[in-house]
């Protein structure tokens, strides 16, 4: 069976393992070079449905800081990253903000929520 080989760097953690993926004609993949199961998962996803967690910050009114950091609760498709950040541009929260507070539901039609990652106290 014909094989296609692809080399990747795992982004799962700062170790950055060099992954080698062998894709056979029927689409089956064999991953080597990973130190943990996350590496194999990442490689399979990266070649079929690449996704990323997106982090950004949104405006806050009346807080001890003018912004709060946020993240997508899970990874979203790579081609939705810019839509996601754009959708957050006009969001303005009011202090106090708690970690985990929902900032946006179903961001950019991904079905994923955006949540706050920092506590902002009332000024």
């Amino acid at each position: 069976m014909k094989m296609k080989t692809k080399e990747l760097v795992c982004i799962g953690c700062p170790l950055g393992c060099n992954l080698k993926v062998e894709v056979s004609e029927d689409g089956a993949m064999e991953v080597t070079g990973n130190t943990c199961p996350r590496g194999a998962d990442y490689a399979r996803k990266e070649l079929t449905d690449p996704r990323r967690i997106v982090t950004s910050s949104v405006k806050v009114q009346g807080g001890h800081l003018p912004c709060v950091s946020v993240k997508t609760e899970t990874d979203i498709p790579k081609d939705k990253i810019f839509d996601c950040v754009r959708a957050l541009k006009d969001v303005v929260l009011t202090a106090p903000v708690e970690i985990g507070m929902v900032v946006a539901e179903d961001v950019a039609g991904t079905g994923v929520r955006v949540i706050a990652t920092k506590k902002i106290d009332k000024a």
Partner: protein, 419 residues
């Protein structure tokens, strides 16, 4: 004012040291922080990837910081914000300043240095050209964008491929800026591989290795920069110049441990790391003064900072309780053949734990080579490594049982050797 353990800095290192010292039974602890909140640099590191070792989950910087801040609050560890340390004496009398109380003194039985590091500035890089607005360190830009909601510019060139520079390349791109290029003087990147992939490759931002900025144009505001390729001696090669129009130049050219206070109090510094020389207990040459985190040596991973700081906190606790044996001479640890330094610098077999982690960085990119440990002239361990690079910290573990078996050693050496 008096305290048992004074911790200078309320970032990840200071927080983890404080929590560990309190859990080891010391009541009297004080964290001194100059910013308006605890958490240090983590507050502006809003990206994810923190905590996989410590919490077994992937957190953002502020979330990681909050875990430790909550712990410190729960343990009722006192801290002072907006308070800057101006001097520490060899007698551990700390002179501090804040708005409410003016200048005052704190007498401590033990001190933990956890001041972190700062970025190498343009002045330290000797870049020729005008001095217009629009030149920022990557960390300054990070604070503006992530914490203050302000964009430093629209058309960006980044010099240096440290992790903060890579992360800011992505962040500025997401916020609508056009990041044209990242130039790196060395033939390899100074950042983690994962950041090259997810911050540059994902957004098609080119990384030009062996390139530097040789001119900055613009009098009031940056108008453009000229890049050139450098030779193996890092000298620009004539004829390779390329001009980039831009309004912003970000610098991500290395971090320097912030040790003015340490050297003022007589703490011996290692010229390679610019951090204190410490023994296995992370104690400096000044008895009862410990160091951890980026003030000791610059880390890539906050998880390792927390682990290191825990050790410093536990040892400081043992010291104030009189339970830490007096420091002996210790076996010197040496880095050779590409191993640039080691932390710690000495190991005392009496004081060490069952397992001692030794961390270090290598001076070049090494492929298919071996990391070797020698007791005197005898090689005791040889581990194959596919790749080692200056941008990624390495470590080995020393076992107390093995060192005691070996008897009186003159030195322990870590070397890189060919396979």
């Amino acid at each position: 004012m008096k305290t048992g353990i004074a911790i200078i800095g309320g970032g990840p290192a200071g927080l983890a040291a404080a929590v560990a010292a309190r859990e080891a039974g010391v009541e009297d602890i004080l964290i001194i922080e100059r910013d308006n909140e605890l958490g240090g640099i983590l507050n502006q590191c809003i990206h994810n990837g923190f905590g996989l070792h410590t919490f077994k989950e992937e957190l953002t910087g502020p979330e990681y910081a909050e875990r430790y801040i909550e712990k410190a609050e729960e343990l009722r560890i006192p801290y002072m914000l907006h308070t800057i340390v101006v001097d520490i004496g060899e007698d551990k009398v700390i002179t501090v300043m804040n708005k409410e109380r003016g200048m005052f003194r704190i007498e401590a039985k033990a001190v933990i240095l956890a001041m972190g590091c700062r970025e190498r500035s343009r002045g330290a890089l000797n870049i020729p050209g005008y001095r217009p607005a629009g030149i920022y360190s990557a960390g300054t830009a990070q604070r503006y964008v992530n914490m203050e909601g302000r964009m430093p510019g629209k058309k960006v060139v980044i010099l240096g491929s440290g992790d903060i520079g890579l992360i800011m390349a992505r962040r500025m791109t997401l916020e609508g800026a056009q990041v044209q290029v990242v130039a790196e003087l060395m033939p390899y990147s100074g950042g983690l591989k994962r950041n090259i992939v997810q911050c540059l490759d994902d957004y098609d931002i080119p990384l030009k290795l062996s390139h530097t900025v040789i001119d900055i144009k613009g009098k009031k505001r940056v108008e453009g920069v000229t890049l050139a390729r450098v030779d193996e001696n890092r000298r620009p090669i004539p004829g390779t110049e390329e001009y980039y129009e831009c309004d912003t130049l970000l610098l991500s050219c290395g971090l320097i441990p912030e040790n003015e206070l340490s050297s003022q109090m007589g703490v011996e510094l290692n010229p390679v790391t610019s951090g204190p020389v410490v023994n296995e207990s992370l104690e400096t040459n000044v008895e009862g003064v410990f160091a951890c985190g980026n003030v000791l040596h610059v880390h890539d991973l906050v998880d390792y900072v927390s682990g290191e700081a825990k050790l410093a906190g536990e040892n400081a606790a043992a010291y104030v309780k009189g339970a830490l044996p007096k420091a002996g001479k210790g076996i010197p640890l040496k880095g050779e053949n590409g191993v640039r330094y080691t932390v710690p610098c000495t190991v005392d077999t009496e004081r060490m734990a069952q397992k001692q982690i030794v961390r270090f960085r290598v001076g070049d990119v090494y492929r298919d080579s071996c990391l070797c440990v020698y007791y005197n002239d005898k090689c005791v361990s040889r581990v194959k490594k596919k790749v080692m690079a200056p941008g990624e910290m390495e470590q080995i573990t020393l076992l107390k049982s093995k060192l005691q078996e070996a008897g009186d050693l003159e030195s322990i050496t870590i070397r890189i050797e060919q396979e």
